[in-house]
Symmetry: none
Subunit: 244 residues, 2 copies
DNA sequence: ACCCTAGCGAGGTCTAGCCCAGTTGGAAGG
DNA sequence: CCTTCCAACTGGGCTAGACCTCGCTAGGGT
């Protein structure tokens, strides 16, 4: 079972290479412009067409691409514009004109359970950093944020001083996330969460789980619990072309 | 190659046969119960495994099935994982393979307060339609939806029969929304909401407020209250080039 | 009684083709 | 000049295998 030096995320996953290549093409392409044809990608990457189709399937499912039989594959209008972008808590708060602050509640080594291993694309039992912080804006508690990183990706994380911003760390290691996916759900605060957030237990909170990727590599998983009375998520949306 | 027993109308769509067969199996299966294995389906239907996988991909994307490597494919809990985009409740539910339904709780003329007036870009005291519906998927209550329209924009709304879909009405009047903005916040169900949604009062709910625009015109304001246990939001995010 | 391992079956990925149905643009013919 | 038609694309669907890793379990050895 010894890793032979090749990162687990890279072994036998050609479709991710293709997908991230195409994603990089369409991030700042104009809506409606054509993506490379499937057969062109087959030639470029020297893979089977099924592999290319699988790669594009993911982008179509995310609403970034649209297939039109007989014509080609085209860049859709982006679903997300300015506000709902991949940015850090600090960036978000600064944009809202507030002073961000954070207090570390916990920073320790753990081992990956099945869920985390899958999300971070590592193996069950592999070493993980769990960093829990209370996040404040203008000295008022806003959220509890759990960050999970693979220690294989950030080996010296717990040896060095904790970074002031996670995103500086990503930039240093050339792993700045380029895209991600958020899951949003409502919940009520547990007793522990209520205490940290200065809420009554049972008060509503917003759970936002995020997986961030740099190219095709899963970089971080965060689970944030926001006070519903101090945080509203704002998402601009566009109507997908094919529904008009 | 020319296996026949099936009408020519459906030729070349074997994956749909497999998909609908599996869907029929899992409609009233308990969450967590296993679906047939891919290789079993290959034998049952006499198709290639890629075809079976394609069939199951659709059900996985709709959130009906969950794949677990090494174990099998299983029926998920009925949680609706909805992608944030400007589309109607019905469209989203159909995309998820569920049967949408709605019950009108209220439909009357009101006058705009300051908040609504600003949101709909009319004047305070101007006539407004307030339409409240209970929204269901596969006969299970999912959300309460309050729709507010300006009676200046839709003068005959309350005189005609209520439309089966609001978006048909928009299409008729050439006011199909092209973009919008959503505000998302967590809350707990009021007694009244809990009753309609078949929840305990105090259970977590997701409030989604939407303003939809057709070009520069504010067309509708909706305020929806979703059951948190049956509804999550999925938001893909991209990091803009200039922040990298 | 314990642990370890081999094997089996699950899904994950990939190949190198095949034919089909739409779309399109240019060449041939009126 | 215009129309018609076809060839060269596009994606959609499908085949019949291959090899990989993961999760579980039944046996076997200690």
């Amino acid at each position: 079972m010894a890793e032979n030096g090749i990162p687990a995320a890279q072994r036998g996953r050609k479709h991710l290479l293709v997908r991230e290549y195409v994603r990089s093409l369409i991030v700042d392409a104009e809506p409606g412009s054509p993506a490379p044809s499937e057969r062109d990608l087959v030639e470029q990457f020297g893979v089977a067409r099924m592999t290319v189709r699988h790669a594009l399937d993911g982008l179509v499912a995310q609403g970034l691409l649209e297939r039109i039989p007989g014509r080609g594959t085209f860049v859709t209008k982006p679903l997300i514009d300015m506000q709902m972008r991949l940015s850090s808590f600090s960036e978000e708060m600064e944009r809202r004109g507030k002073v961000p602050e954070s207090k570390t509640l916990l920073a320790r080594r753990e081992t990956a359970g099945p869920g985390l291993a899958r999300a971070l694309e590592t193996e069950v039992g592999s070493p993980i950093v769990h960093w829990e912080r209370l996040r404040l804006a203008d000295s008022q508690p806003i959220a509890i944020q759990h960050v999970y990183l693979s220690l294989d990706t950030f080996p010296r994380f717990l040896d060095d001083a904790l970074p002031s911003s996670l995103y500086y760390l990503f930039a240093d290691r050339d792993l700045m996330p380029t895209w991600g996916e958020d899951s949003v759900v409502a919940a009520v605060a547990t007793e522990e969460e209520a205490e940290s957030l200065e809420l009554e237990p049972g008060a509503p909170v917003l759970h936002i789980s995020r997986r961030s990727f740099c190219r095709e590599v899963a970089v971080e998983v965060t689970r944030s619990i926001y006070r519903a009375d101090r945080y509203t998520l704002w998402v601009p949306v566009l109507r997908p072309e094919h529904l008009r």
